[in-house]
């Protein structure tokens, strides 16, 4: 369905909304095809987090999530969904960067920009300082969650191709 929007049928004009979506998809596709140094995806069962609340497993949460992530997720109506999708993002980032570096979950933080768009912040192994240089790579992340499943996609780009 997505491709039918991104690839206009000859003789049929696109509406403004379709055109904007097609352009966005073409840019994303272009970025991926240009220099996909790494792509990672992960799906997480939200129930795994429902069954293990932060109240019962505080050490697990402190090992996987930053204080900011914990504060944000706990403020949501259903924290497990938000923890699950962040965990998926961390695993997806680990996969995307597997051929370049080894990162622990606690080094990868999902940060929400003011417009709500998620980004990834990376930290040193001891979590004390930002990891500013990652082999000249930038990452983009997309998150989604439904009732039971949370999914995240991370793509790593060389810096020149990250800003699409």
């Amino acid at each position: 369905m997505t491709l039918s929007v991104a690839m206009p049928v000859p003789g049929h004009a696109l509406g403004n909304e379709q055109r904007a979506l097609a352009v966005a998809l073409q840019r994303m596709t272009s970025a991926v095809w240009h220099d996909p140094v790494g792509i990672g995806i992960d799906v997480v069962d939200v129930n795994d987090f429902e069954k293990r609340s932060i109240e019962k497993f505080p050490y697990f949460y402190s090992r996987c999530f930053s204080a900011s992530e914990i504060t944000y997720c706990r403020a949501q109506a259903r924290p497990a969904q938000h923890f699950a999708v962040r965990f998926a993002a961390k695993e997806a980032a680990v996969k995307a960067l597997a051929s370049h570096t080894k990162l622990a979950y606690w080094q990868i933080e999902v940060v929400r920009q003011l417009n709500g768009q998620p980004t990834l912040a990376l930290w040193t192994f001891d979590r004390l300082a930002p990891l500013t240089e990652l082999c000249g790579l930038d990452m983009k992340v997309s998150l989604s969650h439904a009732d039971q499943w949370a999914v995240a996609l991370v793509a790593a780009f060389t810096r020149d191709h990250a800003h699409v």
Binding site: D42, V44, Y59, F60, R63, C64, F87, F125
Partner: protein
């Protein structure tokens, strides 16, 4: 602590993590053959092992712990199993 005791404790933690009876665990469960061993439960398991044995695992150790046998290998080294008292 002897190997049998260590293996027993690890199997107990694994069964608890995966939400199954210990008797239903394969003889040597590993990530490749045991479908319930997801990325989330892998981390739950590693953190539970850290808590139980009061240790802190390194990244390399975590990555290497993909089966009961390898987990026991790492823990044996960490908690100095079998050394004379």
């Amino acid at each position: 602590m002897h190997d049998e005791e260590l293996i027993g404790q690890v199997r107990e933690i694994m069964a608890d993590t995966f939400g199954i009876d210990e008797r239903d665990l394969p003889q040597d469960p590993n990530q490749a053959s045991f479908a319930g061993w997801t990325s989330v439960l892998n981390m739950v398991l590693l953190v539970a092992l850290e808590e139980r044995f009061v240790i802190r695992l390194s990244m390399d150790e975590m990555i290497s712990m993909t089966s009961l046998e390898r987990i026991v290998d790492v823990l044996r080294a960490k908690v100095a199993i079998g050394l004379p008292a």
